[in-house]
């Protein structure tokens, strides 16, 4: 893994790399079994007691459930230093957690995208902030 020391997520509590692997920060309800992302976006099963919600990290790998290629730059407040358009967006399924999550596709030949292919969670460098830190977002890439 590349040096992650001087990197910071643009918004906190979404992506974690403290374990040495890049993983998405989810929460699981131990009463109804539902996983949430972002973790504060509670979507309990009706009638759930809502007790025992704990922060968890999602699996590092998942499968591509759908994708698109965006041909126009995303408007502000989206911001990257380098031009990334056209960029892929994937909907990646984490089977055990029964959740699909959107993310920019990076470091992958967009022509090779296929529903069902294996993807892993990674980060995408967006820009350098005033503290000279690399600001990043979560992303997905094909497993080579």
């Amino acid at each position: 893994m590349e040096n992650m020391v001087n990197k910071v997520a643009r918004i906190p509590n979404l992506v974690d790399w403290s374990t040495g692997e890049v993983r998405l920060m989810s929460a699981k309800c131990n009463s109804c079994g539902t996983y949430f992302f972002p973790r504060e976006h509670y979507q309990h099963r009706p009638g759930c007691s809502r007790e025992g919600v704990e922060d968890v990290l999602l699996a590092q790998k998942g499968k591509l459930a759908s994708y698109t290629i965006q041909y126009y730059p995303c408007p502000a407040p989206f911001k990257t230093e380098k031009k990334i358009t056209p960029y892929g967006i994937g909907l990646v399924e984490f089977e055990d957690e029964k959740i699909q999550i959107t993310g920019i596709i990076t470091d992958t030949d967009l022509k090779s995208l296929k529903i069902g292919m294996e993807m892993e969670t990674t980060i995408l460098d967006m820009y350098t902030n005033e503290e000279k830190q690399q600001v990043v977002t979560w992303a997905f890439k094909a497993i080579k």
Binding site: A9, R10, I11, L14, T34, Y35, F36, F37, P38, E40, H41, Q43, H44, R45, P46, A65, S66, Y67, T68, I69, Q70, Y71, Y72, C74, P75, A76, P77, F78, K79, I84, Y87, I89, L91, E93, F94, E95, K98, I99, Q100, I101, T102, G103, I104, I115, T137, W138
Partner: protein, 393 residues
């Protein structure tokens, strides 16, 4: 509950960005609705206003600003927001107020001025407004959500790029005959297929832009007003739905969705339409005219299924076989749809009901559905907002 009738409608034609004040567009629509109903302003007993989300304080209190133009009379004014189903909420509140006997005659309206350029985040606070995350980190403008679902549909049901293009061909044919439409050019299937991808598989001509527009509706249970009106249209049901747990749709603004479905897709619209069928005793088989929310070609197809006009996966065949055209048993979007208008958020649900009303009143000229007796307007708003209105003459 009393029977409620639409006696007056007004539309400010749809257009692009404008520097004109939103309330002035609303006033044009309201003035036309009053004239159509042959009604004095002082007879309006309640105003149910769709708010203009990009209009700041004035936009959020659009009902008060509209009332002041015509003259303040002290009546209840309620301002409501339900994303693109905002107009459905205002119609439903007007209907309920009258049906319950609280008021006899009410106004529902919405007016929206297109933002310059793209729709984007409405705040900078990712803690309070989770929508900020998809803009700052997700790179997710609205059409991407539709493209992700469209790709799933193509994989599951074999929907083709030609099917997606055919929707636009049909919508542009009808839009060219609609004086209220913003886009009046007719397109061939080749022209649509040659338009650039915005987010594949969706092309530029297969998604709708944002527009400026206003629409107003006067509803009443006053027997004298109904008897004097030109072809009053009865509202058999006007309902709203929210999403259901386990809906597999990736909703605009969200970053995740369940991978194991436990509810129908677009469950908010499934819910709103089923409530309307139950309340009215009218089902999809009885409907002559359907205005559905074709934000993209994918929506046109999936909404036929969500609302029960065919089984899942059969909408493409309905389209290809001409079963959704004017002249077939069911005419879908004879207005030209959002494809020919664009979205004017708080106004569009009311505009859809007005198109249905005009069809039932036989006022649609070249795009008239002959002998239309039963019509349904269906809306769709982000994060689980939907409304259905069923009308008869």
């Amino acid at each position: 509950m009393r029977d409620v009738y639409i006696i007056g409608t007004g539309i400010h034609p749809w257009m692009g960005f404008s520097e004109q004040v939103f309330a002035d567009f609303a006033a044009v629509a309201v003035n036309d609705a009053l004239k159509d109903a042959n009604l004095e302003w002082q007879k309006i007993e309640a105003i149910m206003a769709g708010i203009f989300i990009y209009g700041g304080n004035a936009g959020h209190l659009s009902g008060q600003y509209l009332e002041s133009i015509f003259g303040e009379t002290g009546i209840p004014v309620v301002n409501v927001y339900n994303a693109c189903a905002t107009g459905s909420a205002s119609i439903r509140m007007a209907y309920n107020s009258i049906a319950a006997g609280e008021t006899d005659t009410a106004l529902a309206f919405g007016a929206d001025v297109s933002p310059k350029g793209f729709l984007t985040a409405k705040s900078d606070n990712a803690v309070q407004d989770r929508d900020v995350i998809r803009w700052k980190m997700g790179g997710l403008p609205n059409p991407i959500y539709w493209a992700l679902e469209c790709r799933k549909r193509m994989e599951k049901y074999g929907t083709t790029e030609e099917d997606l293009a055919l929707v636009k061909v049909l919508m542009s044919e009808y839009g060219s005959k609609n004086p209220h439409a913003r886009f009046k050019k007719q397109y061939s299937i080749e022209e649509v297929l040659n338009s650039v991808y915005v987010c594949d598989p969706l092309r530029l001509f297969e998604i709708c832009p944002v527009s400026t527009g206003a629409a107003a509706l006067i509803v009443t249970a006053d027997e004298e007003l109904i008897s004097k009106a030109d072809n009053p249209v009865k509202i058999n049901a006007t309902t709203m739905g929210s999403a259901m747990y386990g809906d597999p749709t990736i909703r605009i603004s969200a970053l995740s969705c369940p991978s194991v479905p436990e509810a129908p897709m677009l469950s908010e619209s499934y819910s709103a339409s089923r409530q309307a069928y139950e309340k009215s005793g009218i089902g999809p088989e009885d409907i002559d005219v359907l205005e559905l929310p074709d934000n993209s070609s994918w929506h046109y197809l999936v909404y036929l299924e969500t609302c029960g006009f065919c089984k899942d996966g059969e909408a493409d065949k309905m389209l290809r076989d001409g079963e959704t055209k004017i002249g077939a048993k069911l005419a879908v979007n004879p207005s030209g749809g959002f494809s020919s208008h664009g979205e004017a958020l708080s106004a569009q649900a009311i505009w859809q009901v007005i198109e249905c009303t005009n069809q039932l009143r036989g006022r649609c000229g070249e795009r008239q559905v002959e002998g239309a007796k039963v019509a349904m307007a269906q809306t769709y708003g982000l994060m689980g907002n939907s409304g259905t209105t069923i009308m008869t003459i």
